[in-house]
């Protein structure tokens, strides 16, 4: 087990290095220049552009630029092109903004997907099953931003309360209770919207897992023993059906970062996804690369974690 963990960890480190080199090359080779050195900006003088390019190391060969990026990243001196602010604190600050949205959306997905999926599996072929299948596919196929706009317009039109951003502005001196409730309310709509697709997909998984388990011999045995249906479903079947979902926890890790770019943009949520999106628009290489690097590291860590988790919960699996 430990040998596996160490070997796997080292492999992933090498992989991370390869990913970072590739990402670095792609970002730099893609067309477009950082907006600070955009030659089509009529206000910029060629001499200024030259100076800025040198300060950003943009004239150096790619491997040197990669070296500078890595050096600055690990010494914590890496700065954004756009406003010369240090990158890591900036990402951390935005990450803290994204975190509540992520937690809330995840809670909604995981608490709602299971009951709907299980119910559909138990009443296979019923009107409920067919209806929920239809809705699930509809939610998967309708673009999230479109639904969000409809939702925003409907909520604002019907209830007349603000839904954009992390909080209502101008509440700084209000009672803390009102401020907390205001923040929760601002979480509700964006997290529901970003959870919808998740619910749809996860509930489909739950349904098919349950169906598979229910048709197993041991479930028939349990029923034959005369156990009541609820015990059969929730005690015997559900536990086994849950196994594959444990691994999904591992995959949650990478979606911490850049989980909901579209929703953050629409809801003017100052989160990590929007930071990345705006960095891409203005070709802010240090930010793009660092977010990408962290995302890659989290993905590798996530898959690693789910491998281990699976071995922990399923005794039939042994890691070697």
């Amino acid at each position: 087990m430990w040998a596996y963990i160490i070997r796997n960890f080292l492999q992933r480190c090498v992989l991370l290095f390869i990913v970072s080199v590739m990402a670095h090359s792609i970002v730099h080779l893609a067309p477009g220049e950082p907006s600070e050195v955009d030659p089509s900006n009529p206000r910029m003088q060629p001499e200024d552009i030259k100076k800025i390019r040198e300060a950003f190391h943009l004239n150096d060969p790619l491997y040197l630029q990669y070296y500078y990026w890595m050096r600055d990243l690990f010494t914590g001196e890496l700065k954004s092109f756009k406003d010369s602010q240090p990158v890591l604190p900036k990402i951390w600050e935005r990450f803290l903004n994204s975190l509540p949205l992520f937690i809330c959306a995840t809670l909604i997905v995981w608490t709602l997907a299971f009951p709907t999926g299980i119910h559909a599996a138990v009443r296979r072929g019923s009107a409920y099953d067919r209806g929920s299948t239809f809705i699930a596919y509809a939610l998967i196929s309708i673009p999230g931003f479109f639904l969000s706009y409809i939702m925003i317009l409907w909520v604002v039109d019907t209830f007349g309360v603000p839904v954009i951003g992390m909080r209502t502005f101008g509440m700084e001196n209000a009672h803390p209770f009102f401020q907390t409730m205001d923040r929760i309310w601002h979480l509700v709509i964006p997290s529901i919207m970003s959870a919808l697709t998740g619910i749809a997909i996860l509930s489909r998984y739950v349904r098919s897992q349950m169906l598979e388990v229910i048709s197993q011999d041991y479930v028939r045995t349990a029923r034959a023993k005369g156990l009541d249906e609820d015990t059969v479903i929730y005690h015997h079947a559900l536990r086994n059906a849950l196994l594959p979902f444990v691994t999904l926890f591992g995959y949650l890790l990478p979606s911490l970062i850049g989980g909901s770019v579209i929703f953050e943009y629409i809801f003017a949520w100052p989160g990590l996804g929007r930071l990345g999106y705006e960095a891409i628009l203005s070709r802010d290489f240090p930010i793009i690369l660092t977010i990408n690097f962290i995302a890659a590291a989290l993905t590798l860590a996530g898959t690693f974690l789910s491998d281990i988790l699976y071995a922990v919960v399923d005794p039939r699996i042994r890691l070697e």
Binding site: D48, A55, I108, P115, I164, A174
Partner: protein, 699 residues
Amino acid sequence: MKIKWFLIIAPALLSLALLQSYFWVPTYETQTKGNPDRVWKFIEASIGDAKILNPILNADTASGRIVGLVFDSLLDYDEELNRRGRLATDWTITEEAYLIINPDAQFPDGIQVTANAMKARISDAIENGSLPKLKELVTEITLLPKRKRTEEIAIPGADGKPISVEVKVQVPERLQFSLKRVDQNFFKLLEPIIGANYEKNVPIEKWVEVSPQEHQKNLRPQFAEFLPVFEHHPIILFHLRKGVHFHDGHEFDAGDVKFTYEALMNSKNLSPRTSNFEPIKTVEIVDSHTVRVVYKRLFSPAIDAWSIGILPEHLLNEQALQREMDKRGLSKQAKAEFGMRDSQFNRHPIGVGPFRFVKWQGDELIHLIRNDDYWEGAPEYKEFYYRIIPDAITQEVEFRTGAIDTYSPQPHQAVRYKKDDTYQPFSVLGFGYVYIGYNNRRPLFVDKRVRQALGMAINADEIIEYILYGEGEKITGPYPKSTQWYNHKVKQIPYDPKKAQRILAKLGWKKNAQGWLEKEGKIFEFNLITNNGNLQRKAIMTIAQNSWRKIGIKCNTQLFEWAVFLKDFVNSGQFDAVVLGWSMGMDPDLYQIWHSSQAGPQQLNFVGYNSPEVDQLIVQIRQEYDIATQRNLTHQLHSIIAEDQPYTFLYAPRSNLVLDKKIVTMEKDGSYSKIKKTKSGSVFFHFNRWRKLEYTPKF
């Protein structure tokens, strides 16, 4: 069983916990519920974030808005667009004029000119009243002795590298005149004494010496610039307001004004406004609250440059920057390059304006609180928030829920507010206009009648109605309609395609078999281009193409990326016609856009408009310091350009703004009144007196 119940109760509880929060969130009607301070806060939405909060460095709208609240300028414009003092309580504009004594010249009566004779003759003329205009103008005449002056200048060498050249100037005796006001015709008034050809045979070769010698010849045409016979130096004496303090408590004084000027001219700071201050010769501190600004030449728009925010010297001078560098522990290389642009001041500005800066969270908000010590009295609002919402629909949604107090709607959104009396919509005519510019150098467009006919074929009303949703106004000439420079008497070119056809027929353009206008075997065909990315210009291009097709003119249209459009077509003059727009300033100076000397590559008169009459007027206007005279001149200029139609002037767009209806202007007696825009179109003019009520007022 527990699991089953858990699976049902958990989501139900979660949903309840989340959704109940709705009941505590204020709607527009109940904004003060649980939050009575809401009415003391003003929240404005912006599409873009600010870039740099420094009055001499910023160049974008968002930064300009914040800088305008945090900093104050020496002067600005009042409701009627007249200049008014802010940090300057008042100012006087006088002039010092210099006349070179030309020993080779003769007085009109044939006697040789000498310094003393010149001074005596002019003094006598003033004394005995033979030149009455001079008497009230001149306060003092001084004879200045000869002196030497050396200048280092750089000239382009043969291989393109600049060469440094030394110019020695033997300044001869001069007469210095102190004038009560600026008068560009001062030396004309002296003509009866000095004669009409005084400046003709000045022995300038004797006075100017270039070393190394070989460049003497090349520089000969510029000698007159080193030593002009007639020199005007306008002088502004600013009296500054006393007892004004920066937000950190430091007192504002003349040193800050001088420092701001020096920072603007410091090439290390790369200020985008340097050119506005270039005509200044010196800025002198007379005493702690008096500043004397001497200009190099007559240039009346230069005074408007002082509507720039004044920087605090004590926070940005060399020592302060040095302290900041040491504190931040910068590397050696970073220190060498460190300048005002790198200072943290630009993210945390300190000025003397009505609002103090508190914090700036990138892409989210900028927060200001009111300056209780503001010299004009503290603003009514306690806090100001500038919220960045990058999307027009989201802005509208937030506005309707009362989460923001104002924003600038798009034309199609503005239409909705007009029908809705829940809000206060404003429609303001801006300082810009949109036009079709014809390359006046092309044989096709040389005749002004052709340009007039082209203009007659286009229906500007239709463009305003269908492209701008009515949010625009027709214009006739080059000045913003809300300024006094605009000549309202000039008649609009009518929309009359039939007349256009008649005019062209008179000029020999006949319809051929395919329906195109033809003259001497050539059909009337040209290319109309504009930049990509501006949907309005693109639509105008199509409308123009279609309108001209109707009268038999073949117009081909094309879109180019902005950089390509400028480089390959506009700057090099390689185009037939363009759709473009200008954004104008308050001043009446049109030199860069319309003077014939500005028609070279990279210059703004890219249509190559050339009219000696207009050139003369433009120069007169920028040298005139009397506003009434200036107005007469601009009206003349306007009508000439309107007649010549080097552009087809299409429209001036209106910009829109909506305000929460609960916001009113407080009067001095404690009553309130409805917010009105000023004559100049500024809605925010009385912003410091605005307040939000807890209820919707009825007017």
